[in-house]
C-alpha cells in the first residue's frame, strides 16, 4: 500500500493557499445533495458539523452523551494557542510552527503543522464573534498567558474553563443548525462499525443507547471526531466514556492506525488516593506559571512542607532546565516527577506525588491575584483532597491525558480509506510524539472550522452523490456483525465484571507502556494482555439485555476494543527502538537521562494495517522530511 500524504508543493508558507485554490468546489446548489456523517461533537466534531451545515450539506451528527454539549472537550481548562502576537513578544506563525514541531520531538508532518499555525488566529476571531468570554485586560483587549514549551505568551483562556467555553461556542453554532433543520442530531447513540462500499466509507452502524436498537446510517462521506484513547490505561484524566471504539472499528475496516505508542502523560494531576479510584483529575498546567515544583532533598522526609527549609528542597525542574524551569514540556516534566518518586523522594501518604507550591507567588502577587487566576482550580483541588492549596502546597503526579497517535490522515485529513475523514484528537497529524499545552483545542477547531470544510468538497465532487443505498449487502453484513458481537458479549454471563477487566488491563498498559518502556516489559505486556483478553471473552459478566439502556454492555464493547487496541499500542512501542517525546524507551537515553531519538532509522510515521484476526498487523512507513526546521536534539536547558 502506498501512503501518499498529498503534501502540496511550493514553499511552506504558500502550500495551504495553493492547495485551496486547486481543490475542486462543490456547486452551492448541489451541496444539499450530499449527506455527511459526523461522529463526535467535541471541538472537532461540533465545529465541523456546524460549518458543513452552514455551507449547505446535509449533516448527521452523533455522540454518546445525552447532549452534544457534554463532549469531553468541555473539560479542557488551561487555554488555546494562537499566533496573534498581541503581546508583541516576538510571536509569529513561524514561531508557533517551530515550537510545535520541536515540542513534538520532530515526529510530525511539517506542512500540517505550518497550516495549523496559519489558521490559529482565525480561530480566536471566530470564537470571539460567537461570544466566547475570553479573559480580557482592563483595556478591554484580549489577555494571554504562557504555557509549557513556549517562551512567548500566546495562550487565550476563559478562566480555568477554556474548553467549556470554546465547546459551548461550537455547540451553539451546531444548535443553530439543528434548529434550522440542517443537522439531524443523534445524542445517546454510539457508533459501533464503519461501512465500506466499493472500498469507500459510506456509512456507519450505531446503537441507540436508550432503546438498544442497532441501525445503519448511509452517507456520502464519514467524519470521525471521536477523541483520544487514553482510557486504555483505565485511570486517566479523560471522561469515563471516552473510548477507542469508533477509530478502532475503522482500523479493522482498513484505515491505518498511526503512532499508537505516542501517548501523553500530563505532569500535573492529583495523585490516586486508593484502589477504588475511578479517574484522575488534571490540574491545569497553567498552574506551572506561578507554582514551583519541588521535593525534599532527603529521602523519607515526612515533615510538613512548611517546615522544610529552603536549602533542603530540590526545585528539580528549575535546577535541570534553567531556561524553561517549571515550564519545561510535558513529557520532560512528567518523567522528572517519576524519577524523583522512583528515587523515594515522593511526597504524600503513598509517596506518589511532588509539591506544586504557590507560597512564593502568593507572597509576590498576593492571594487575590492568585485567586483570580486559578480560583476554580484551587477550589477543585480542595474538594477532592480536602487540603487548602493557598496554605499547603498541592501534591501532583503525572497521569495519562492525551494521545498523539490516531488514525493516519493525509494533508486533507482523509484517511487511506476514501471518504473517511478523521479530525481532532482521533487523528495523528499535528503533535508528533508530544503535544504542547493549549494546542489540542487549537487543532480540533482548526480541523473542524477551517480545514475539513474545504477539503471534503474535493472528494465529494470526484465521488459523486450517492443514493444512500442502505439496503446494500455491505450494510446488512455490518449490521449482522454488530448484532453478533453484542449478543456474544451478553451470552458469556461469566463471573468477573467489565470494570475489573478494564482496571487490570489499564495497570498492565500503565506499568509497561506508560511513562517508561523497555523491550522486556513490552513483551511481558503483550503476553499478559493476550491472556487477560481470552479470560475476558470467557468470563466477563454483562448483566441485562441488548434491547434496553444497558451501561454494562456499553462498557463491555469499549473494553473489548481496548484489549485489541492495547496490543497494537504495545507492538508499536516495541518496534520503535528509540525514545522520542512521550515514548520513552529506557534502552535509548542520553547520559543525562534524556530521550535519545534515532533519526536515521525512525524518522517516520508508523502506520499499522489490520491484517486479520490473530495475525500481526502490517507496518507502513511515511517518511518525515524536515525542510524548514533543522532536525536537532531537543533541548530545554
Amino acid at each position: 500500500m502506498e501512503l501518499n500524504p498529498k503534501i502540496p508543493d511550493g514553499p511552506i508558507e504558500e502550500k495551504w493557499d495553493r492547495h485551496r485554490f486547486r481543490l475542486k468546489l462543490v456547486n452551492p446548489a448541489n451541496k444539499r445533495k450530499y449527506r455527511i456523517i459526523v461522529v463526535g461533537t467535541g471541538l472537532a466534531g461540533a465545529s465541523a458539523a456546524a460549518s458543513l451545515a452552514e455551507l449547505g450539506y446535509q449533516v448527521r451528527s452523533f455522540c454518546y452523551q445525552d447532549s452534544p454539549r457534554r463532549a469531553h472537550s468541555i473539560a479542557a481548562q488551561g487555554g488555546i494557542n494562537a499566533a496573534k502576537n498581541y503581546q508583541n513578544d516576538g510571536d509569529s506563525v513561524r514561531r508557533l510552527f517551530y515550537d510545535t514541531v520541536k515540542g513534538g520531538d520532530f515526529r510530525s508532518r511539517e506542512a500540517n503543522v505550518y497550516r495549523l499555525a496559519q489558521v490559529s488566529g482565525n480561530i480566536i476571531d471566530q470564537c470571539v464573534a460567537q461570544g466566547v468570554p475570553f479573559a480580557r485586560e482592563y483595556s478591554g483587549y484580549l489577555a494571554n498567558r504562557s504555557f509549557g514549551g513556549a517562551q512567548v505568551s500566546r495562550t487565550f483562556y476563559a478562566r480555568g474553563q477554556t474548553g467549556q467555553q470554546l465547546l459551548l461556542g461550537a455547540y451553539q453554532a451546531l444548535a443553530r443548525q439543528i434548529g434550522l433543520g440542517k443537522v439531524q442530531m443523534h445524542p445517546r447513540t454510539e457508533m459501533l462499525d464503519l461501512v465500506l462500499v466499493d472500498g469507500h466509507a459510506k456509512g456507519i452502524v450505531t446503537r441507540d443507547l436508550v432503546t438498544g436498537e442497532i441501525q445503519s446510517q448511509a452517507a456520502d462521506a464519514v467524519v470521525l471526531a471521536t477523541g483520544g484513547y487514553a482510557n486504555v490505561f483505565y485511570l486517566s484524566t479523560n471522561a469515563k466514556g471516552c473510548n477507542a471504539t469508533a477509530i478502532f472499528r475503522a482500523y479493522k475496516k482498513g484505515a491505518l492506525f498511526a503512532n499508537p505508542c505516542y501517548t501523553q502523560i500530563h505532569p500535573t494531576c492529583i495523585p490516586a488516593s486508593g484502589d477504588y479510584q475511578s479517574k484522575l483529575t488534571l490540574m491545569s498546567e497553567s498552574l506551572r506559571n506561578d507554582g514551583r515544583i519541588w521535593v525534599p532533598k532527603k529521602k523519607g522526609d515526612r515533615r510538613p512542607p512548611a517546615q522544610i527549609p529552603e536549602e533542603e528542597r530540590d526545585y528539580y525542574l528549575e535546577r535541570k532546565y534553567p531556561s524553561y524551569g517549571n515550564l519545561a514540556p510535558r513529557d520532560i516534566s512528567s518523567r522528572s516527577a517519576k524519577e524523583v518518586c522512583d528515587a523515594g523522594l515522593g511526597v504524600g501518604e503513598n509517596g506518589n506525588g511532588v509539591y506544586l507550591d504557590f507560597r512564593d507567588a502568593i507572597r509576590g502577587l498576593g492571594k487575590k491575584v492568585i485567586r483570580e487566576r486559578y480560583g476554580n482550580l484551587f477550589d477543585m483541588y480542595e474538594k477532592i483532597t480536602h487540603e487548602n492549596p493557598y496554605e499547603v502546597p498541592m501534591r501532583i503526579y503525572p497521569a495519562p491525558h492525551y494521545t498523539m497517535g490516531g488514525l493516519w490522515v493525509d494533508y486533507n485529513l482523509m484517511s487511506n480509506v476514501p471518504g473517511l475523514y478523521v479530525l481532532g484528537e482521533a487523528n495523528f497529524s499535528d503533535h508528533g510524539a508530544n503535544r504542547l499545552g493549549a494546542s489540542a483545542l487549537m487543532q480540533g477547531l482548526a480541523d473542524g472550522y477551517f480545514i475539513l470544510p474545504y477539503t471534503i468538497g474535493d472528494y465529494l465532487v470526484s465521488a459523486g452523490a450517492q443514493k444512500f443505498a442502505a439496503d446494500r449487502p455491505e450494510f446488512r453484513q455490518a449490521l449482522d456483525d454488530v448484532r453478533g458481537r453484542t449478543s456474544r458479549l451478553l451470552s458469556i454471563r461469566g463471573r468477573r465484571t467489565v470494570d475489573s477487566f478494564h482496571r487490570e488491563l489499564g495497570s498492565i498498559a500503565w506499568n509497561h507502556c506508560g511513562m517508561a518502556r523497555t523491550e522486556a516489559g513490552l513483551q511481558k505486556a503483550l503476553s499478559s494482555i493476550a491472556a487477560l483478553k481470552s479470560e475476558f471473552w470467557k468470563d466477563v459478566n454483562v448483566p441485562g439485555e441488548g434491547e434496553e439502556l444497558n451501561q454494562s454492555l456499553e462498557r463491555a464493547g469499549r473494553v473489548a476494543d481496548f484489549f485489541d487496541f492495547a496490543e497494537l499500542m504495545c507492538a508499536d512501542a516495541l518496534h520503535r527502538r528509540e525514545s522520542c517525546g512521550g515514548h520513552f524507551r529506557e534502552e535509548f537515553q542520553t547520559a543525562e537521562g534524556e530521550a535519545r531519538r534515532d533519526d536515521r532509522n525512525f524518522c517516520y510515521v508508523g502506520a499499522w494495517e489490520f491484517a486479520g484476526e490473530g495475525k500481526p498487523p502490517r507496518l507502513h512507513k511515511e517518511p518525515l522530511t524536515f525542510e524548514n526546521i533543522q532536525l536537532a536534539e531537543r533541548s530545554y536547558k
Binding site: I74, V128, G131, V210, T497
Partner: protein, 250 residues
C-alpha cells in the same frame, strides 16, 4: 464507613418505579459519591442484580452529565458541588442515603436515575447562540469588551446545563438555565444584535417544553453547582420586558 442506600429503580420510561434498599459497606471517606455507587454496582453485578443506571462522564464537575437528588437535594448537601465532586467524607457513618432522579415534567425518567434532558438542547436551538457563520468573523481585537462585562458574562456562561435548577424548583422552572444563556450572550457586544429575538424565542421554547413559572423561591441558585446567581433572572426579565416593547426586527 457503612451506609443504607434507598435508590429509585425504574426499568424503563413506561414502567412504574420504586425505591429499593441496598447496603453500601466498607466505604472509604475519600471515595467520591459516584465511586461509592461504582462499588455498590460491582457488588450487585456479582450477585446477578442489574447495576443501578446513572449518568456521569467527566467526573470533575464540568460536563453536567451527573444528576442525582441526594437526600432530597439535587447534587447533595454540599454547596456549589456536582454529585461527581461530592465525597463520602461529607456523610455520617451508618447514615441512610436516599437517591432519586431529577423530577420534572420536562425531564422524563429513562431508566433508574437517568432522565431525558433534551428539552434544554431544544431551548438553546431556539436562539441560544450568536448567528455568525464560520469565516465571517472580524479580527478578534477589533471590538474591545470591558473587563467587567466579560467577567459577568463568564459568570453566566459557567452554566453546565445539568438541570439541577429545574429539579430543585417546586414549579420545575428553567428560568436560571435560560437566564444564564440570555445573560452570557446579552452582556457581550457580539450578542447584543440578536438580544431581542433571542430572549423572545428562548422563553417561548422554554414554555413549550413544559417548564413551570418562576415564583422567586431561589431554590435554583442554592443547588446550582456553579453558584450561578439569580440576579441573572432579573436581568433576563428586564431584557424580556424591553424586548416586548421594541418593534420586531425587519
Amino acid at each position: 464507613m457503612d451506609f443504607e442506600l434507598h435508590v429509585w429503580r425504574q426499568k424503563s420510561p413506561k414502567e412504574k418505579g420504586r425505591m429499593e434498599v441496598y447496603p453500601a459497606k466498607g466505604i472509604h471517606a475519600d471515595m467520591s459519591f459516584l465511586e461509592m455507587l461504582d462499588v455498590v454496582n460491582e457488588g450487585l453485578a456479582s450477585q446477578g442484580v442489574e447495576p443501578i443506571a446513572f449518568d456521569h462522564d467527566c467526573r470533575e464537575g464540568i460536563c453536567g452529565m451527573c444528576s442525582l437528588v441526594i437526600n432530597g437535594i439535587p447534587h447533595g448537601p454540599e454547596r456549589a458541588t456536582t454529585t461527581c465532586e461530592l465525597y463520602m467524607r461529607h456523610f455520617k457513618d451508618g447514615q441512610k442515603i436516599f437517591i432519586e432522579p431529577w423530577r420534572a415534567r420536562a425531564f422524563p425518567v429513562l431508566k433508574d436515575l437517568i432522565v431525558d434532558r433534551s428539552a434544554f438542547d431544544r431551548v438553546i436551538q431556539a436562539g441560544g447562540y450568536v448567528s455568525v457563520n464560520t469565516g465571517s468573523a472580524p479580527e478578534a481585537n477589533t471590538l474591545p469588551v470591558p473587563k467587567d462585562c466579560a467577567e459577568l458574562s463568564m459568570d453566566a456562561a459557567a452554566c453546565i446545563g445539568c438541570g439541577a435548577c429545574v429539579a430543585a424548583c417546586k414549579n420545575a422552572s428553567a428560568m436560571l438555565f435560560v437566564a444564564a444563556k440570555v445573560s452570557h450572550l446579552g452582556l457581550l457586544p457580539q450578542g447584543r444584535v440578536e438580544a431581542r429575538d433571542r430572549v423572545q424565542s428562548m422563553v417561548k421554547a422554554m414554555d413549550q417544553e413544559g417548564f413551570g413559572n418562576c415564583t422567586n423561591q431561589y431554590e435554583c441558585e442554592a443547588v446550582c453547582p456553579k453558584a450561578i446567581s439569580v440576579s441573572f433572572i432579573s436581568l433576563m426579565n428586564r431584557e424580556y420586558l424591553k424586548s416586548s416593547f421594541q418593534p420586531p426586527a425587519v
